[in-house]
């Protein structure tokens, strides 16, 4: 039984997700969210950033303008994804498997001046 409880607890990964550069307006105008996402995606693989993006779009995003966050199954152009304050290019982009306590920051580029 103890074994089972432990497994259940590990079914979810607690993460901090942050939005900046106006993206927070798509997520209830809140910049920082503590979320727990399933440890495995739809196909039973370890959850990666690609899954996190889908998950956030389906579960956290209340705004109907989905195309302002997601396009062609990934974040739209003009959004930087930072995994623990480093460009996701340095971490394997959307294939990076999320870990407990990771900080994932989505930044929309600004153009005003």
């Amino acid at each position: 039984m103890a074994e089972k409880t432990k497994t259940n607890k590990e079914d979810f990964i607690p993460l901090t997700v942050e939005f900046s550069g106006g993206l927070e307006m798509l997520f209830s105008n809140q910049k920082k969210h503590d979320v727990s996402i399933p440890a495995r995606d739809e196909s039973g693989n370890s959850s990666n950033i690609a899954f996190l993006v889908r998950y956030l779009c389906d579960n956290l995003m209340k705004d109907p303008k989905k195309e302002f966050f997601i396009q062609d199954n990934t974040v739209r152009p003009g959004i930087l994804v930072l995994i623990n304050d480093a460009d996701w290019q340095l971490e394997g982009e959307d294939e990076y498997e999320v870990k407990k306590g990771d900080n994932i920051l989505f930044v929309s580029t600004l153009h005003g001046g």
Partner: protein, 458 residues
Amino acid sequence: MTTTIDTTIHTLREEIASCETRLAELRTQLAAAEARSQTESRNEQKARKWPLEKDDYKRYGRQLILPEIGLQGQLRLKKASVLIVGVGGLGCPAAAYLAGAGVGTIGFVDGDTVDESNLHRQILHTTPKVGMSKVDSAIDYCKSLNPTLTYTPHRTPLTPQTALPTFTPYDLVLDCTDNPATRYLISDTCVLLCKPLVSASALRTDGQLMLLNHPSRPAGSVPARDSDSPPGGPCYRCVFPRPPPAASVVSCGEGGILGPVVGVMGVLQALEAIKLIAGGRRDRRYEPSLLLFSATADAPFRSVRLAARRPGCAACSARATVTRDALAGGSLDYVRFCGAVEPVRALGPGERVGAREYYAEEPDPDPDHVLVDVRDKVQFELCSLAGSINIPYSEIAATALPPRRRIYVVCRLGNDSQLAARRMKELGLGAGGKRWIGDIRGGLSAWREVDGEFPDYG
């Protein structure tokens, strides 16, 4: 005996007198020589050439005594030339600090004239200068701040045809513009000409800053294996290979901007430029990063690590398609690359009325119609039409409409109002055609045809 002694005394007295005369002569000569020597050394000092102008020591004294600047740093600043593209909320504070610090040549690119809506943040422009070229206004300010520098005006907007010749004479470029197309053009030009780029942007209460193409190496260049010289830094396309969808791009006019927020970013650009120039070593290893500023966050500054040059980058990799010929020949269409927002045409002619028409036909107050303003709450509180109710666009689905026969929708410019009216119909609020739903063409901006006193905050 007595005679001999007398003679001796006499002789000695004569000798002493002679010596004293000689001594006096020598003292006079010495004094003359000393005086001459002092004048000469003074003359020598006068003729000595100091590396900075006499007034420069005083003007730049407070920064000269910093180890980060010092004499060599100041001389480098004096020799340097910096181009500021965009003389708005970023360009104004950047220019003021570069002129203050003594950057020898400062160039300004902008085709716009000063507008009243610029004044809360574009600190070089003043109320009497409304209507004046922004470039002339900025040079006017900088000249009075520091008349010892050279200021070069470029009074037309940057285009692919003008970019290369405009950038060529400068050492360093500051991107202080406000749209994606120009940002790509500036970065590409900097890569082609091997110039570092300090890029900043701001919107609402947020700002971003990056030092790009630093160190500045030709596209595709790889440092020799045995050299310890670092590779070239990423360019704007490395960070953002594809432009954002045009509909997602929000301007300061649409989204708003807080003056000190864009001011902070412009000041940081000037700081990066001064550090880069005064430090002298353009070749230094540099970890690419993006500085995020958020005025409302608990910790307003945050720096994140960026990746190195992107292997397939269209501008700075070995496979670059952005070339001098392509740029100068006009085959790179930046405006098309970034796309344009299609005009909204969500409603047909029977679903739209003009401002005058509405004013003439709909009495107020009226039990038969309601006017729904779909701007956000902040804008509604700023100014609204008598009798209108506020249902922000995002809350349409969740808000019940009053039971009236006709629903008029209004927004700032007449785009969101069309989308809102269509959305209401999709939600079934038209009661199968029994209830008329439409919008006011041209929005509140057109309302000024009816009421010239209605506030214009745009």
